[in-house]
């Protein structure tokens, strides 16, 4: 129950796919909202006219514009480079070519064009400023090591912070029992802090990198201090460019993972494991991911949880995900996962499988900090290997957890974002004690660096 609560708490951060490089794409999606077939047909006709009259500037401009709309920046480049032969050294043309190469992540060529423009004796100030922004990004993207991260702080309210049942009257083994009041589902506030950091070192081997990821989470509860949480997780390992073996737009990250958690002020869990993540860009709009992990988890007993160590064991996970760029502003995502936990005791061992999906929508103009809205939902079923003897039943636990979630991120200034989230989750189990529902609402600030 605690683990599920922690997972839901971390759900807004799930966008950081472990070991996956979000920055590499070899294809450029074209403009949104165009009739591609019609534009392709028009462009084909223009191309024939251009073949017959290659020095026609108007035809060339039109052809380059349609190519750019279709995301065929190579055709736009070859057309503009031809026009540059007609008008050598034309600064605005060189600026446009620099931006086209920049959009293809061809940094050296973009930089050459930008430097040539800057060397002109009279560069309009707005062009100079824009080139400065592009050059700054090129410098950042071509550095041997790239780092970025995010820290956040906030407050969350839950109607059922301890994931307890709604009533003290439950059935165990078909017999009615009264739970202690303290076991009831209880609302509570908690403050939380989050931190994420990514460091990537270019191994200068045609796209291979070494990635280090750190994430941390801490929560202090107002009333239910036995739920006070502290989690850290470190993952490190190589991230290979699969183009080396002929898989274009694919990456494979292999990583070692180390984690630790405190619960209620006591050591709760340490873990160590290995994982691998495969990421494939199927086309300009679609990314597919496949991941697998094998982790040893060691749980620790405490006064609050004297039998936690029964949970110790190995967890093997496999997951897949799909992200689809419906429009430049709208991303659909879906994921499936399958986990096998082999714990010290068979009633803590289980199979778990689930699926989730949602949509992320960006508002505002591209190139600015944008408002994002995320809507998601999921279901997860966990089947224990054996009955829990404390439940006085010969049925193993069969628990179905489902949730819906909505998150809104609004940028303020200087990289600070207001993050808000509302999640409603329901657990339906054949063990009454595991039946609960919970509405959680959080509000916080985060800052990227």
């Amino acid at each position: 129950m605690v683990a599920v609560a922690l997972l839901l708490a971390l759900a807004p951060t799930a966008g950081y796919a472990q070991g996956v490089d979000p920055s590499s794409t070899q294809q450029v999606p074209g403009a949104a909202g165009i009739d591609r077939a019609a534009v392709e047909a028009q462009r084909a006709q223009l191309f024939q006219a251009m073949l017959a009259d290659p020095s026609n500037i108007d035809l060339a401009f039109q052809y380059a514009a349609l190519s750019e709309q279709l995301g065929d920046l190579e055709a736009a480049i070859s057309t503009l480079e031809r026009m540059l032969v007609f008008a050598p050294g034309l600064p605005r043309l060189q600026f446009e070519l620099g931006v086209l190469y920049y959009r293809l992540a061809s940094w050296n060529t973009a930089k050459s064009y930008f430097e040539t423009v800057l060397a002109q004796p009279a560069v309009p100030e707005d062009i100079r400023t824009r080139i400065g922004t592009y050059m700054a990004t090129i410098e950042q993207r071509t550095e041997a090591a790239i780092s970025y991260g995010e820290v956040g702080v906030g407050v969350r309210y839950q109607t059922n912070a301890n994931a307890g049942p709604a009533t003290t009257s439950i059935e165990l083994g078909g017999l009615p029992f009264e739970l202690d009041e303290g076991a009831l589902g209880t609302p509570d506030y908690n403050g939380y802090v989050t931190a994420r950091y990514h460091h990537s070192i270019d191994l200068e081997n045609q796209g291979d990198r070494f990635d280090i990821d750190f994430s941390g989470y801490g929560a202090l509860y107002a009333e239910q201090t036995d739920l006070d949480t502290g989690i850290v997780d470190i993952s490190l390992g190589p991230n290979f460019n699969l183009a080396a073996i002929g898989i274009d737009n694919g990456r494979l990250a292999v990583h070692g993972d180390f984690g630790a958690a405190l619960l209620g002020g006591n050591p709760y869990l340490t873990s160590a494991g290995l994982g691998a993540d495969l990421s494939l860009l199927l086309d300009a709009r679609t990314r597919f991911t496949l991941s697998g992990d094998a982790v040893h988890e060691e749980y620790y007993d405490s006064d609050l949880r004297p039998s936690s160590s029964d949970r110790s064991g190995q967890t093997y996970s496999a997951g897949s995900g799909l992200q689809y760029l419906l429009t430049p502003d709208v991303t659909l995502f879906a994921a499936m996962d399958l986990n096998r936990t082999v714990a010290r005791t068979d009633y803590y061992s289980n199979w778990q499988y689930g699926a989730s999906g949602g949509v992320a929508i960006l508002f505002g103009d591209a190139g600015t900090e944008r408002v994002s809205l995320s809507l998601s939902g999921g279901v997860s079923r966990q089947l224990a290997d054996a009955p829990d003897p404390a439940m006085l039943t010969d049925e193993a636990e069969d628990e179905l957890v489902s949730y819906v979630s909505a998150g809104l991120a609004v940028p303020l200034m200087a990289g600070i974002v207001v993050q808000s989230n509302v999640t409603y989750s329901v657990s339906d189990s054949n063990y009454d004690i595991s039946n609960y529902d919970n509405l959680a609402a959080s509000l916080g600030l985060s800052k990227k660096f």
Binding site: Q26, A31, E40, A41, A44, F47, Q48, M50, L51, D53, P54, S55, I57, F61, A65, E68, E74, A75, I77, E81, R82, L84, V85, F86, A87, P88, G89, L90, P91, R92, L93, V99, L104, A105, S106, N108, T109, S112, E115, T116, A119, Q120, P121, A122, P124, D126, T129, R130, G132, T133, M135, E139, E204, Q206, N241, A243, D248, D365, T368, E369
Partner: protein
């Protein structure tokens, strides 16, 4: 529907009388020298002509050809290059294309069309191996400048392989990497050094004054107002960085900063100025006065503030009189004030930007002039700009002066002596190319600023050389040149009477003039450039021009 259109397009292609079955593409841009050879028959190729199978395209020292294939693939063939399209198959219905070419020397940029989307679509045979290009934009340099190895650069796309028979010599699959030929004869993939891109771009850039064969090229406003620019660089995107952050990053980035470099490298820069003085409707050319002893010019002096803005100019001018008559003056930057030795100063201007007649910055004209000038290297060690004033001269005439100035770190007599010691008489030690900018009074053609190209040869031992100003006023700021398609001036220059610099007469059809100048250092590179001033007159003063020139060392043709 798309297949119908594609099929119709293909039929149009085949049915066109200009598109013979042996045709692989067209020459979409051509700078001479460029030739095509088929079966031993050589022709000079021009823009818009068909390229056929097995036609050998060769370019000379300034030649540049873009070949456009029917599927949208382009080969940009640089100077001193040799390319043959051996085979080209295009099926517009299937959207597949295959091309095989042989590239034996020079520099080439390949951008794939449908060939990029076809497995095994592109094969280029070279003396260093056979390249297979898959979905990529590639630069190939088989004749790089001295000190740079032969290299193949993956600019964008999927992969490039290099094979010799069955042996894989190298493979690129990440943009921003190059296969370079090492001294051991093996190819290695490395991160593309920044210099590779700059060298290729210089090689594939048309020289100033060339047109690619087109009757006209685009202008900056046309590009700015085009749909391409509207989508590619939409106006006023909210910057993610503040202006201060951008400025700081620009400082940290390794780009040209002509102001800072110039100030750092050139303490107390001196130079030349040329101007037109209009007195009672008559234009009189002005140049730096000589010092009356060994023929050296009294140099124009320019002072810059900490931001690199010119703030003070002192211009010793001569109109043929032994003394400064109109303006030996020191002028503080701005539009007001200043001291003059003789006469009262009216309004004046002095800055790096061109002002119109009302002393208002004319950025359009400045921008147009910017694209006409070719000497990009000059911006690192030579500064030039505009100056002028109008006011009352000592003879109570109201005069207007419009001029140019150019300054840099002049090569000293001792340094020139060292260069002379290393020089052999009769050889060309240095070849300079650059620009000439001047004020023109074309009579009924009006008054305006014009530009031209400059070339100069020099021998340090002989202290002599030649200078040419070509294509002057062929494309001047909106005004129509009434005498033809550009003025060509030539002259012999020499250091005479112990001059540090040089001077000489200019001649042209129907006119003559005078030129003087000096050598300019670029950091530790002595006499890396030249600069000076000039004037010439056509007819009986029907056309008068005066201005400055500047140039940088390049390799001779």
């Amino acid at each position: 529907m798309r297949n119908l259109i594609a099929a119709a397009s293909a039929l149009c292609l085949l049915a066109s009388p200009a598109w013979a079955e042996t045709t692989v593409g067209v020459t979409a841009a051509v700078n001479q020298q460029a030739s095509g050879t088929v079966g031993g028959n050589i022709r000079t190729i021009a823009l818009g002509e068909n390229v056929v199978f097995n036609e050998r395209i060769q370019t000379g020292g300034e030649g540049l050809v873009q070949i456009l294939l029917a599927d949208g693939t382009t080969f940009m063939v640089g100077p001193n290059s040799d390319l043959v399209i051996d085979n080209f198959v295009y099926d517009p219905n299937a959207g597949t294309a295959q091309v095989t070419a042989t590239f034996t020397k020079g520099v080439l940029r390949f951008i794939g069309g449908q060939t990029s989307k076809t497995d095994g679509g592109v094969t280029i045979n070279t003396p260093v191996g056979t390249m297979g290009i898959r979905g990529a934009m590639v630069d190939i340099d088989l004749d790089p400048p001295a000190g740079t190895p032969k290299h193949i650069d993956l600019l964008f796309g999927n992969s490039v392989t290099l094979e010799q028979g069955e042996q894989l010599l190298g493979r690129l699959y990440e943009a921003g990497y190059s296969l370079v030929l090492g001294e051991d004869g093996a190819f290695s993939p490395i991160k593309t050094p920044p210099g590779f891109g700059t060298q290729i771009q210089l090689a594939l850039a048309g020289k100033s004054g060339t047109t690619g064969g087109a009757p006209r090229g685009p202008t900056d406003p046309e590009v700015e107002n085009s749909e391409v620019a509207e989508n590619n660089t939409p106006p006023d995107p909210a910057p993610e960085l503040t202006q201060a952050e951008i400025d700081a990053l620009l400082e940290a980035v390794a780009t040209y900063d002509k102001l800072r470099d110039f100030i750092i490298n050139n303490q107390n820069p001196q130079g030349f100025a040329g101007a037109l003085l209009v007195d009672d409707g008559v234009s009189i050319p002005l140049m730096n006065q000589d010092n009356g002893t060994n023929g050296d010019a009294m140099y124009t002096e320019v002072a810059f503030d900490a931001d690199g803005n010119p703030v003070r100019i002192k211009v010793p001018l001569s109109v043929g009189y032994p003394e400064c008559l109109y303006a030996c003056f020191t002028y503080q930057g701005g539009t007001e004030g200043g001291e003059v030795v003789a006469g009262d100063l009216g309004s004046a201007y002095f800055d790096g930007y061109l002002y119109d007649g009302n002393n208002v910055p004319d950025e359009n004209l400045a921008n147009q002039l910017a694209y006409e000038l070719s000497c990009v290297d000059c911006n690192q060690f030579i500064r030039w700009g505009f100056w002028g004033f109008d006011g009352w001269a000592t003879d109570s005439d109201y005069v207007e002066v419009d001029g140019m100035w150019t300054t840099g770190k002049l090569t000293t007599r001792a340094q020139l002596g060292n260069l002379a010691a290393l020089s052999e008489s009769g050889e060309i030690d240095a070849f300079y190319t650059g620009d000439a900018v001047g004020n023109v009074d074309a009579g009924e053609g009006g008054q305006y600023v014009a530009t031209g190209d400059m070339e100069m040869t020099w021998n340090f031992a002989d202290k002599a050389g030649t200078i040419n100003i070509n294509d002057f006023d062929a494309n001047a700021g909106g005004a129509d040149y009434t005498y033809g398609s550009g003025i060509y001036l030539e002259g012999d220059v020499a250091s005479v009477n112990g001059q540090i610099g040089f001077s000489g007469a200019l001649s042209t059809e129907g006119g003559d003039g005078v030129v003087q100048g000096g050598f300019v250092n670029k950091g530790n590179s002595l006499a890396h450039g030249v600069m000076g001033d000039f004037y010439f007159v056509l007819g009986e003063g029907d056309y008068v021009a005066s201005g400055v020139f500047f140039g940088s060392q390049t390799a001779p043709n």
